[in-house]
Amino acid sequence: MKRVKLLKLATLGFAAASALAAGVGAVDTPPSIASPAPSAQAALAPQFQIVAMRRITEAQYRNTIADIFGPDVRVAGRFEPVVRPAHELIASGAREASISPAGLEQFDAMARGVAAQVFDESRRSQFAECQPADATKADADCAGKVLAPLGRLLFRRPLSAGERDFYVKLAGDSAGQTGSFYKGLELSLSAMLDSPNFLYVVETAEPDPANPGALRLDNYTRATRLGFMLWNSTPNEALLQAAQQGKLTDDAALAVIAGRMVNSPRFEQGLRAFFSDMLLFEKFDELAKDPVIYPYFNQDVAKALPEQTLRTITAHLLGKGGDYRALFTTPNTFMTRSLGPLYQVPVHKSAGWEPYQFAAGDDRAGLLGQAGFLSIYSHSGRSSPTLRGRAIRELLMCQPVPNPPGNVNFTAVQDVHNKATPTARSRLTAHSTDEVCAGCHKITDPVGLSLERFDGIGAFRAAENDTPIDSSGILDGMHFEGADGLGKTLASSPDTTQCVSSRALQYATGLGSEDVSPWVEALDKQFAASGYGIRALFLKVATMPATWQVKAAPLDQGATKISYAGQRR
């Protein structure tokens, strides 16, 4: 009986918390909770205005739960993905990401699971410093002492008095009906985890004293941005305190704090998230290869491929403090037993990763010689110079390539057994005789064909259909040979460093490439001055005024009102 009541209450709490905060700036009170209950809506001071909302990603959700409640608290459920806008980052897509009813159900299930673990008997003492007078009854004083600090960590700012009262009342109502103080806390916590104040980063701005009439992001928003940008997790206690003390709008203090963050070991987690976004690593989630054509491909390999690339990146850029450009030429990487056969190299350790160095001049050097890049930019049964060339243009050089028209005849490139066109080069040559196709293929194929000595899973091959592979390539007028030559050409291209500079700024702000373009050239110059060090780039991004300026109009100026049912009115 109590279970039924709790479920009803939980549903009410979930609906209330979600709906109350859904519009954040302008929300109607849902009719079903039109009682004089306290509101969960943050009371913003008049000078603060909401300027953006960004949905947190799955990784950010998981990292946040681990940071606040401990890594042993399990998050079980399916996350509705944030949709990536064409040619942009997921971080940009997060600004426009909504949550469907089905997605919200998943978030609610996860929230209940997390809350149940947090307040189970084995853990509750870590989060509940006070003891209720009677564990079978409500205790508003103790509930407030438990929920307010958790709310501050989850919403990344202190709870308003209204919010505090709301969650305390929710806990009290539940405790009364379930006969358990802790069940009340559990319900309240799950309501917080369902709240848009948690699922979205609500960015607020304040008048910029240096630019009268303009806005700048406020301290708590800055703390959140720093946390997610540099560590891919919620701001920690130190950041929240810095925000409370107003340090994050002080340039000197901000530089010290950001400098500490980029030099922290936790920056690796942030950098992994950045490059996973920049290099479209979500593609690994759907990576599938024909096991008959590629016997070396299996689930262990699929799992290891993105990790190999991320380890290569972080070891080079952070471990060695290496030049970003050398990512395209570095002979150093990491291996596991599962990857060894694909690369046909020895691996000492039976389990785990170990460093590996390719010989000088080996075509494997650099990120583009790695099976991760080569396999995701291939088809399930054949390589694709076009996909690879396009990925290099778009992801590494920030040069968008148009999609092919809908009526393309792909027969020539798909017929891999035609003796007249035994290699991808010959097939693409035949395909590109169509002038409609030739325009784009000129952009992509001369680049991608240099990687043809690696098949659709990135395994080395010298020939295709018994015909030796020509791996010569051309990029922006530069002729080169193989992946090694491509890597060197990219390393010398100014487009690659400008691209990563642009991506870093987009990643921090959630803005699109066009929006950040006015600052990219200057940022790239400072990147160059640092020797193309990634820490220096992110430190610069974290401290440059453009990161904290507000371009967009506040969301609540004539904002859409969202009803309880979520329907626009």
């Binding site: 096991p291 008959v292 016997p295 070396y296 299996n298 037993r337 599962s338 060894g340 056969p341 046909q344 190299v345 020895p346 691996v347 000492h348 350790k349 039976s350 160095q357 010989a359």
Partner: protein
């Protein structure tokens, strides 16, 4: 970073002079597996070659002349054969099936929970197994023509289909007419299929590491590490081994790191006689750990012969003497199930093996306690780490 260059030459056609097992997949023995010198892989630059063993199974030569009376009867059939024709007919009636089952099974179950496979010595005077009658067997001449040396006993010898004489393989003589080994004529028996599955599962992965290889044509001094590894092999979706994987020789007991000395002549490595011990693991989920009951291959005075193939693989044989009980290790561990389900007469098998024992002479009794044996080996290039020397090697 040590790599051994291997040839990219096309796979030489393996001569198949009569299928060794099953007939579905003719496999080369060392003799017929020899590679023309011109097609031999280049010797490794660093003198090291690594292999993972993909096939390790006793070879069977199919054909009607090996077991003209058919395979050795199963326990139920053997019980029936001992009955009068009238009684046999009666027992085979459907309504007497329960009686028949109770009768033949009571014949293999002893007092106090004993049974014919767990305690075979308690069951005496069993009918011997049918033995191989043909003159053909794969194997090696371990004792100089079967005349019996100080440590072996006189016996008949076989010859190989390729003409080698004086072949010692008493294990095959005894076991070669069992259904488990021979299968239905022309189709591989359980032994072939089961051993292949064991290898693929990684329950007893074996690796071979050659050191000091300067030439595949002639090299008089090669060190051979023949060992087990806990690492499971890399196989494709069809369960086929893939070359180029890495393995580490076990650094935990039982290590089974056998160090052999050998020489290469015309693309064939042959090692001196020495004892070789390798892990056997019977079935998963057994009593001791997830990989099942663990026993040991114990080859005495064993020799390894490997013929290098143009594609970098190797094919060959391990031959030596095995203690007779080791041959029935698997059904003995299976206990009553081996008898009443698989119908194996462990006591008869053991007594027949003792009768034909030709090696491991007991100095006290003067009797031979082991049988000559041969195991066919196929191996693919692999990177083999030997923690003893922290080296690794493979063909590519």
């Amino acid at each position: 970073m040590m790599r051994i260059a291997t040839t990219t030459a096309t796979l030489a056609a393996l001569l198949a002079i009569g299928p060794m097992t099953g007939g579905r997949q003719p496999l080369a023995s060392p003799a017929e597996g020899e590679t023309a010198l011109a097609k031999l892989p280049a010797p490794p630059a660093n003198g090291e070659m690594g292999f993972v063993v993909t096939h390790f199974v006793q070879p069977v030569i199919q054909g009607p002349d090996a077991c003209p009376q058919g395979t050795t009867p199963k326990l139920r059939d053997a019980y029936l054969a001992r009955q009068t024709p009238e009684e046999r007919t009666r027992l085979l009636l459907k309504e007497n099936e329960t009686e028949l089952t109770r009768s033949w099974q009571s014949d293999v179950i002893g007092p106090n929970g004993t049974n014919i496979c767990s305690q075979p010595d308690l069951f005496e005077n069993r009918t011997p197994l049918r033995t191989v009658q043909s003159k053909m067997a794969w194997g090696m001449d371990l004792d100089g023509g079967g005349r019996g040396r100080a440590d072996s006993c006189e016996h008949e010898t076989f010859q190989t289909p390729t003409g080698d004489q004086g072949i010692d393989n008493q294990e095959y003589r005894v076991m070669g007419c069992t259904l488990e080994w021979r299968g239905v004529d022309g189709i591989a028996g359980d032994q072939e299929v089961g051993m292949r599955q064991f290898m693929v599962s990684g329950e007893w992965t074996q690796v071979i590491l050659l050191r000091g290889v300067n030439s595949l044509v002639r090299d008089d001094n090669v060190e051979v590490i023949y060992a087990n590894t806990p690492d499971r092999p890399t196989v494709d979706s069809m369960g086929k081994f893939l070359p180029g994987a890495s393995f580490s020789v076990s650094d935990k007991p039982p290590r089974n790191r056998n160090v052999l000395r050998g020489r290469i002549e015309n693309g064939v490595l042959t090692t001196d006689a020495t004892d070789v011990k390798l892990t056997q693991t019977w079935g998963q989920g057994g009593a001791r750990d997830i990989r099942g009951n663990r026993t040991k291959y114990d080859f005495r005075s064993a020799r390894l012969r490997l013929a290098f193939q143009p594609d970098g693989s190797a094919t060959g044989m391990l031959a030596g003497y095995r203690p007779v009980f080791d041959v029935i290790q698997s059904p003995a561990l299976g206990g009553i199930g081996s008898a009443v389900v698989a119908g194996i007469d462990c006591a008869a098998t053991l007594s027949t093996l003792r009768k034909y024992a030709d090696g491991i002479r007991d100095p006290k009794t003067g009797k031979c306690t082991g049988v000559s044996s041969a195991v066919r080996i196929q191996a693919l290039p692999a990177f083999v780490n030997d923690p003893n020397t922290a080296t690794r090697t493979a063909a590519r």
